[in-house]
């Protein structure tokens, strides 16, 4: 019972605003530390890959951002579903807030992926399976944000984009599967080999740290952005005026 009360409190905008504000440093500082440690471990400490030399180091940026882009989409879809079914406005705010963050991660993954391709294959883009999937995910993000901006009424924007996010999330595995299959037929280049089936710990540990750091970064950014959404959505509410005058 106590957990439900906590959840209901969290779903109330003024409470969320306060709690999220307090949580930001708790996410941001560990995020910064972990990312710094992960990048140092990956860029400096880890030994060069026997096949790819130093080029592989880009995975310390590339892989976490790809994972995060997918995780953001799932978060977006789930919070959109919750907002759609139970009509919780804060849930819609989380979906709206996550979209630009996820899109940025996807873009980062695409850029780092193509930077990796250059030393390996001589060109920046080779229609690699995973990069192409990432590109389509990026398109899905763009479509979501485009749909949101087409509505003046925020409630309609929330609900319409929620339906789109759900349809998109069903399609993400289908897209991934079809692109992988498509690419395998053409013997396409697989740029993103993660150094073989078993990565040595010296390579893996920084990667995991980096990934965890990126996740916490998302959490911090999400808190900031959702607070921003709350400000927009609740701008006429009395609690906000009281906060301002306090």
């Amino acid at each position: 019972m106590a957990t439900w009360t906590w959840f209901h409190k969290l779903a109330s905008p003024p409470h969320f605003y306060r709690i999220a504000g307090k949580m930001i440093p708790w996410f941001a500082i560990p995020a910064a530390l972990l990312i710094a440690a992960g990048l140092y471990g990956g860029l400096v400490l880890a030994p060069p890959d026997y096949q790819q030399g130093d080029a592989f180091r880009i995975i310390y940026l590339h892989v976490p951002s790809a994972w995060l882009s997918l995780m953001c989409y799932m978060t977006m879809a789930i919070s959109a579903a919750v907002g759609l079914i139970w009509r919780i406005k804060l849930s819609h705010a989380l979906a709206a807030a996550s979209a630009p963050i996820g899109a940025s991660f996807a873009l980062l993954a695409l850029v780092t992926g193509s930077l990796w391709g250059k030393p390996m294959w001589g060109t920046y883009w080779t229609w690699d399976a995973r990069l192409t999937s990432e590109l389509i995910l990026f398109f899905l993000y763009l479509g979501y944000m485009a749909l949101r901006s087409a509505f003046d009424d925020l409630t309609r924007a929330d609900r319409a984009s929620a339906v789109l996010a759900l349809v998109g999330s069903v399609n993400v595995p289908i897209i991934h599967f079809s692109v992988t299959w498509w690419n395998s037929l053409h013997q396409g280049s697989t740029v993103l080999r993660k150094g073989g089936p078993a990565m040595p710990m010296s390579m893996l540990a920084p990667l995991l740290m980096s990934a965890l750091g990126f996740t916490l970064l998302y959490a911090a950014l999400a808190c900031v952005r959702v607070r921003g959404e709350v400000l927009i959505r609740e701008r006429n509410a009395t609690w906000l005026k009281e906060l301002d005058s306090a």
Binding site: A146, R156, R159, V163, S178, V179
Partner: protein
């Protein structure tokens, strides 16, 4: 509460029948997407080269991209007039489950937009030097694929109802979702051209069609309700 006396299948049939009857009253509008399809296919030899060996290689892709773009255009008309004259909101108030009625409407749309494409496809394929053996597979892949596109596209059409620059937005939403269909559809034809078995991609298309028919109407119903708020 007074229950409805008309059964759901009968109601769904009436929705289908009405859309078909309306389309036949203005049958020339049914031809517009097909003309677009043929024109798009013509662009590629013009832009690249009429060299048969080149055309043969790109034929499956060109036909499929043309069909995809043509389907996007045809989606515009799925809900627009119904929204404008008020019949769409009456569908939501019919008392019958909206998802089923929309399934029916989308089936009508698939028939009206897909059949002309499937018929025109062989002509376009032959003009692009595609061998005769691949035509049948091309038609089957289009028959299945246009179905998936109609159902996924219906969700997009419902979401972008009445919003400004709706058709561009509709394309942005539907194109990423349509890419798997494109991959399997053109792959099936390509394999048939090489003399390989094309069963794999066709079965996958069929599976996608089943998934789309069962899930998309639910999303379309939610989207229509949102658009009517």
């Amino acid at each position: 509460m007074s229950a409805l006396t008309t059964s759901l299948p009968r109601a769904a049939w009436l929705v289908l029948e009405r859309d078909l009857r309306l389309a036949f009253r203005r049958w020339e509008q049914v031809t517009h997407p097909v003309v677009f399809f043929v024109m798009v296919a013509t662009l590629f030899p013009l832009a690249l080269s009429p060299e048969p060996s080149l055309l043969r290689t790109i034929a499956p892709g060109v036909v499929w991209v043309g069909a995809l773009l043509s389907s996007l255009l045809a989606l515009e008309s799925l809900f627009r007039t119904d929204l404008e004259d008020g019949t769409l909101e009456q569908l939501t108030l019919s008392g019958q489950p909206l998802a089923w009625l929309l399934l029916s409407k989308t089936l009508a749309h698939w028939f009206l937009s897909g059949v002309p494409l499937v018929i025109a496809a062989p002509l376009v394929a032959v003009s692009l030097a595609a061998p005769g053996e691949s035509i049948a597979v091309l038609m089957i892949s289009l028959a299945l694929g246009t179905g998936v596109l109609s159902f996924i596209g219906a969700v997009g059409a419902a979401l972008t109802l009445g919003s400004r620059r709706g058709s561009v937005l509709l394309s942005l939403l539907v194109l990423p979702l349509a890419m798997p269909v494109l991959i399997f559809g053109s792959r099936a034809t390509d394999q048939a051209m090489r003399g390989d078995l094309s069963n794999g991609p066709l079965w996958l298309l069929a599976a996608m069609l089943i998934l789309a028919v069962t899930l998309a109407p639910l999303a379309s119903a939610a989207a229509v309700r949102v658009s009517l708020e």
